[in-house]
Amino acid sequence: MDTVHLEKDFQEKIDQEIKIEPKDFMPDAYRKTLVRQISQHAHSEIVGMLPESNWIGRAPSLRRKLGLLAKVQDEAGHGLYLYSACETLGVDRESLIEQLHEGKAKYSSIFNYPTLTWADIGAIGWLVDGAAIMNQVPLCRCSYGPYSRAMIRICKEESFHQRQGFEILLTLSRGSEEQKEMLQDSVNRWWWPSLMMFGPHDKDSPHTAKSMKWKIKRFSNDELRQKFVDVIAEQIKILGITLPDPDLSWNEERGHYDFGPINWDEFWDVVGGNGPCNKQRMHDRVTAHERGAWVRDAAIAHAEKRATRKAISKAS
């Protein structure tokens, strides 16, 4: 079959909600889009462990420490599911990691903000994982089989992340004046970056149309962002604090909350490498990888030695 026919067949499968699997025909641009999106997503899970790990050793109780440890461990798992999904598209793990370390691949810019107080761990769980869940649930129905299956696993695990975050904030909201201030300050700092996690406005997002046609994406950036605002604006009432947006108000006509303008200059600045922690994150990531090199090499050497020994004893 020629390419025109193959591409027509491919789009027909997608329109009928038939999943595309690794060995099926797919247009080059579809493959490229997926590699970019899935690897970016995998990198985000891995880099996302860094700001939270900052508080594992300083968690206020054993209960909190166990919860946070389990969450961070999950994020490592999410990174691994996604790297595996990406590898089914014909890229090997080593080059994916190289792209991250050489700054050629992006990760979610939210992880370039610092975790200054314990409240930040709560705010991350509630807002950052919350925004991630909003983005990820529709990806469970993504047209590419391995990505969709990885997302189903991930979404099952995410809900505990958001709940543990909210519980941390709820506890602070019932605490001392100082704790309440810490809570408000943290939400003030994480709110806008969380809204930026949904990406540029639809009119500035040139890839959206294609991703929707391929059913990689099901909702646009602005649709998801609005859904998120509507949910959070209600949930925050339980915490007895406010979101740092004077324009936030319920719009009866639209049936949605209106909200103020997002500072896109800040967003592009952080994406471009100038966020408060970009350099530190990359430095920590690269250092960890380099320090682990001898372990990876030793494990291979050990496996090879055992295999040779086995072969010799079989031969004799």
Partner: protein, 94 residues
């Protein structure tokens, strides 16, 4: 030395009495590490009672382009299904 750990496919039996099912893949230096990594990556919440791992390179897969011809022999054999046989309604338990 720079060598990637080989890729393994992971199969998990979620409960006694059920089949092992493919759940995903991972990298590991050898089979022992593959089992341990599979435990940590795929069964953090009691999702399994048994794990199989097999190096991906040992799996032979059918070619999706030949799907139609490969499965063609079964497509016209309706008589392999119970509903093909016409029996009276009075006949019970069959």
């Amino acid at each position: 030395m720079k060598k990637d750990w080989p890729l393994w496919e992971v199969f998990i039996r979620s409960k006694k009495g059920l089949h092992h099912r493919h759940v995903g893949s991972l990298h590991a230096a050898d089979e022992k590490m593959a089992i341990e990594n599979a435990r940590d990556v795929y069964t953090r919440r009691n999702e399994g009672v048994s794990i199989w791992v097999v190096e991906s390179k040992h799996i032979t897969a059918s070619n999706p382009e030949e799907m139609d011809s490969l499965f063609e022999p079964a497509t016209d054999k309706v008589y392999r299904h119970p509903t093909f046989y016409n029996l009276p309604d009075e006949l019970k338990h069959m």
